[in-house]
Subunit: 248 residues, 2 copies
Amino acid sequence: MAITGPKSIQVCLSPALLPYYHLDDTVAVVIDIFRATSSMCYGLANGAKAIIPVAEVEECLAYRKHGYLLAAERNGEVVKGFDFGNSPFSYTRDRVEGKTIVLTTTNGTRAIRHCAGATAVAIGSFLNIGALSNWLNKQNRHILLVCAGWKNHVNLEDTVFAGGVISRISHDDIEMDDSAQVALAMFRQAQGDLAGFLSRASHAKRMQHLHIEQDIAFCLQTDTIAVVPVLQNDALVCLNEDQYVSLP
Amino acid sequence: MAITGPKSIQVCLSPALLPYYHLDDTVAVVIDIFRATSSMCYGLANGAKAIIPVAEVEECLAYRKHGYLLAAERNGEVVKGFDFGNSPFSYTRDRVEGKTIVLTTTNGTRAIRHCAGATAVAIGSFLNIGALSNWLNKQNRHILLVCAGWKNHVNLEDTVFAGGVISRISHDDIEMDDSAQVALAMFRQAQGDLAGFLSRASHAKRMQHLHIEQDIAFCLQTDTIAVVPVLQNDALVCLNEDQYVSLP
């Protein structure tokens, strides 16, 4: 197959808008910067065998019998009775290496499930933005960047990240939708001072009472890991090296 | 009633996101720059008695017996058998003065109907941005700027306009959601060269074959009219002067 780079880039700014996008011949990238997709990338980079994203807390509980680690977050907090939620500090090597994790979060895991019809579903965060963008650059598909947002509302951090990916996809005359233009413009405004720019965002208020300033700072680190998590048989795993160049 | 200005500003970037916003105690402003809300403002400024926005072509046809002017647009074109569509040049004084117009458009009129639960529904365009913003500044309500978009996709021109309104609402510590931050940032990037900035937008491709460059230029004129159209009993009319200061 000839590799000529992405055919187009679109940004879906809220999961509620997904029904209006085609997923055929498309690589979908799910983005939930604070904190689901950042933690997923970190956990897989730390040797987790797989992360199974599920939409509902009850689905998550159903996996207990398999001996998996169970993780559930709602409204920013760990759901009572679960091993952990979506703080990246729970996904360290000593806790996750060799383990399978079943995770449900307020926004991110639902967005992943809604993308299941795409040719491929990958996971993005600032931690792996370089690896992800390099890989996307080699896909001769449409690219759809899906912002998980917050309860179907658009959020600043996922939008800015989508723009960051677009800024790294170096295909001069690539077709972009208006949301992609918006995301790229937002990233260009933000990139000089990402943390400062995002401190104006709703997450700052939303997460204030949770005392997760450290999580926020962690999730804004750029290019600290090189994995590209993709969905395979309902579980997120790291791409094999032989898949790294382009999708089959 | 004490008048202290708007309580908050939110931007709904697509009609598909409206179910996630509260409309209580809220002034909703519907925005469909190319071209529905621009033409509505222009028509009412030119003496149209009322404009009745309807969602479907069939609803529009049902009004024929009343002797109203019927206007219908789909996919940017006048629907066959109708008096006119949504080009502003159809809404000149000689055609609309004293008349009631029934209008259905691809995006704008549907968005208006979906906002019907708000405390008030107003109509925005660059043509009346000054009058609209002055009036909004006097409302002690929540403000929700509703971008009609294009078939539920976010578009650049409606987003930029929402940012323009926000830039004129001079309430320093007003609460804004992330979409409002996005819109304001986009307006600030666009304002130096609105037409140039928007030429990158999808409308440029979408409308190319329609040869409506004149319509586009018309709709980007700023502060040419002073009306504030509002929804009253399912019809858009100009605010009376005694209502101009604040809502009852």
